[in-house]
């Protein structure tokens, strides 16, 4: 391990992770250096088999989880630069207290990796050693095979669960894809061109679409980290107001509804519905003003059942 260059060191665990994400039944992402695989049986909780693999190199952290701050500095050596120094100032350490050893990290579970694709540099369609990360998806909100379907793609922002007690209302990830704590990072570009870490770099063609090695999606070409965060935080606020059951307004509304044998909700638009109406108006306003100039739009989360926040982007093309 020690005579490998930093780049090679970084590549190896990254590939291992790609395989891990694909093969195991039950996947959890922990702090750097700990990737555990588990197979949880159905039925009762007694037949839980575990095989933990804690022997991965410390560099797995730098490439897989994108969190160089928590690396063991002694093992890394002084002459080695932090590979992803610039790309990770997004990470908020307060959201995951570092005092806990065995900690799960969040990643965008919508993305997946493929190894059989057409390489952009060589033009060869084959099984490649470095997998592509699929970060944008077909558009299900328009007519199938229509012009709009062919010219647009969807970047999905997943729901997060570490902001809400008991998962009572939906919240979406406020980090732009590619910057989550456990996002995949392109090892070559993280060391060679530090400035390119934040951008989407197409590396191969899969199913007629361009994809890169890292988790960074083409959405980064249209929105900055701050703009994205601002939009999603606004949406999250609407979600909280609409779906939080532990508000006085909601409880009073429910009691009134119950006492009047459900006629109250017929007479007056419930606060939850009114809030969601405001959200629809907000998204329409955003699409018509701020995002129209950037050629992207947000799909109302209602259309996906509030399971993800979808950004419609133009189909990525080779620059």
């Amino acid at each position: 391990m020690n005579d490998l260059s930093p780049v090679e060191k970084n590549q190896q665990p990254s590939q291992a992770l790609h395989e891990d994400r694909g093969s195991s039944e039950f996947i959890t992402f922990h702090k750097p250096g700990q990737v555990s695989k588990e197979t949880i049986g159905y039925g009762n909780g007694s037949n839980v088999t575990e095989e933990k693999n804690n022997n991965t190199s410390p560099f797995s952290g730098s490439t897989i989880f994108g969190e160089p701050k928590n690396l063991n500095m002694n093992e890394m050596g002084d002459n080695l630069e932090l590979p992803t120094g610039t790309g990770n100032n997004h990470y908020d350490p307060s959201s995951s207290p570092s005092s806990l050893e065995d900690e799960l990290l969040f990643f965008n579970y919508h993305e997946y990796s493929v190894q059989k694709y057409e390489c952009l540099e060589t033009g060869v369609y084959a099984q490649h050693s470095h997998p592509l990360t699929i970060t944008h998806f077909p558009n299900p909100y328009v007519e199938f095979q229509s012009k709009q379907y062919r010219s647009t793609r969807i970047v999905r922002i997943p729901r997060i669960f570490n902001k809400v007690i008991a998962n009572t209302y939906p919240q979406f990830s406020t980090t732009i894809p590619g910057f989550e704590p456990a996002a995949l990072i392109d090892p070559k570009h993280s060391t060679d061109q530090l400035t390119n870490v934040n951008s989407f770099i197409p590396k191969g063609i899969y199913q007629g679409q361009l994809f890169g090695y890292s988790s960074v999606s083409p959405l980064s070409q249209y929105l900055t980290v701050e703009e994205f965060k601002e939009i999603v935080e606004r949406v999250n606020e609407f979600m909280k107001n609409a779906f939080d059951p532990l508000t006085v307004l909601n409880i009073i509304n429910n009691i009134l509804n119950f006492m009047t044998i459900w006629t109250w909700e017929r007479i007056i638009r419930s606060p939850s519905k009114a809030c969601l109406d405001r959200l629809e108006a907000f998204i329409e306003d955003l699409n018509n003003n701020q995002l129209k100039t950037k050629d992207i739009r947000i799909i109302s989360p209602r259309r996906s059942g509030y399971i993800c926040l979808d950004f419609e982007i133009p189909k990525p093309v080779i620059p």
Binding site: R21, S23, E25, F26, I27, T28, E38, G43, N44, G45, S96, P97, L100, E103, L104, L105, F106, Y109, H110, Y112, V114, I134, F137, P138, P140, Y141, V142, E143, F144, P158, R159, F161, N162, K163, I165, A166, N167, T168, P170, Q207, Q209, A242, F243, D244, P245, N254, F258, I261, W262, S270, S272, K273, L276, R303, S304, G305, Y306, I307, C308, D310
Partner: protein
């Protein structure tokens, strides 16, 4: 020559046939539309995609979502206002529920109401009417409204016939950690990809085999309602159970009072001899009370510990210290009142798939080809 004449004849006859067909269609269209409005089986009409494409582009009449919801096992009534799971004739328990609710009212209004109205107070009858009506309307709402069904195909991948390997994983994601407990795999939420609906199911969302849908916060599929009980109709369901219990208790008390305090100078035995129906009523109301009572106890308990029926029955999640097996329940806030409010006061919000909205020709209601393994 002969062949061309033959062809011409065939063409003419086909034209005539078409004209006849059109005329009959116009005649039946109104009748058909009314019958379609009353009862719609979405899988029957517009099943093929090409047909629905033509319809949408050619005709000016607006298609509603419920007419295209053939992927779900639902029947729609009254223009999509009511829904019920298909093939209820295989599980006709819903009619039994209706019979029980209606019979309780019939018994009260035939045997007891006039006596109570004139001898005790009209308030007794009015109170029963309120409780019974509440029970019936809650049943109606729980049974025929949207339980919170998820739109389909929103998380599709590029390859239509094969699922990416990653999508067959169960994924653990971090949760809020307030209790300072050591986080481990059991203290996380899991999401799973539904290969039928092609969505990443959020925690607690489950696929119902009978309805063919993923339902948000699925509690259980209730055969007595012939509908799923999910996030959007749980409050109706709970109030139905509560009010069913209260109305049967009310019936019990009324029949006891009738027998023991009918006349001050006659014994209960005399009254039973005089009104044999009163004894039957007593027994019947006791029988009616039994099931709602048990169900109410069960659901009150489950709400207090922050559980869903499905989780409790599958033994996936540890209910409390009482039950040692199962996983740690991450949805338990450790506060009984909070758990209870979260359980029964879920804001309904807007329906994710509105049956009566205008149909947009997107892929969220499409039936995709099955996946090859």
């Amino acid at each position: 020559m002969a062949t061309t004449r033959n062809n011409q004849r065939q063409y003419q006859s086909s034209l005539e046939m078409k004209a006849k067909h059109d005329a009959s269609e116009i005649r039946t269209s109104l009748l058909r539309r009314i019958s379609m409005w009353i009862l719609t089986d979405p899988s029957g009409n517009g099943n093929s995609k090409s047909e629905c494409h033509q319809k949408n582009s050619g005709s000016t009449t607006k298609t509603k979502n419920y007419e295209k919801m053939g992927v779900y096992n639902y029947l729609f009534c009254f223009g999509g206002r009511m829904r019920t799971t298909k093939q209820f004739y295989l599980r006709p328990y819903m009619f039994f529920t209706v019979f029980c609710i209606v019979s309780a009212a019939v018994i009260f209004f035939v045997f007891l109401s006039s006596w109570y109205w004139h001898n005790i107070s009209p308030a007794v009858v009015i109170m029963f009417s309120y409780i019974w009506l509440h029970c019936f309307i809650s049943f109606f709402k729980a049974s025929f409204t949207d339980p919170g069904i998820m739109p389909r195909n929103t998380n599709i991948a590029d390859e239509p016939f094969r699922l990416p390997n990653e999508y067959s994983n169960t994924i653990s994601l971090p949760i809020i950690n307030k209790s300072k407990e050591k986080l481990h795999v059991n203290c996380s939420v899991t999401t799973k990809y539904c290969p039928t609906c092609r969505i990443w199911r959020p925690p607690r969302t489950s696929h119902c085999m009978l309805c063919g849908v993923c339902v948000a916060n699925l509690d259980h599929h209730c055969i007595w309602l012939n509908n799923c009980v999910g996030s959007r109709n749980y409050s109706y369901f709970f109030s139905f159970v509560l009010m069913a219990f209260l109305s049967t208790v009310y019936l019990n008390v009324c029949s006891y009072y009738f027998i023991f305090h009918h006349h001050s100078n006659s014994t209960p035995l005399d009254i039973i001899k005089k009104y044999p129906a009163s004894l039957c009523l007593l027994i019947y109301s006791h029988l009616l009370m039994l099931y709602p009572f048990l169900l109410l106890l069960c659901h009150t308990y489950l709400n207090c510990v922050g559980l869903k029926t499905k989780e409790f029955l599958n033994n996936h999640v540890k209910a409390s210290t009482l039950f040692k097996t199962g996983r740690f329940n991450v949805f338990n806030t450790k506060n009984t009142l909070k758990n209870f409010i979260i359980g029964i006061c879920q804001p309904r919000g807007l329906a994710y798939v509105r049956a009566r909205d205008e149909y947009i020709n997107d892929r969220t209601l499409d039936k995709l080809p099955p996946l090859s393994v």
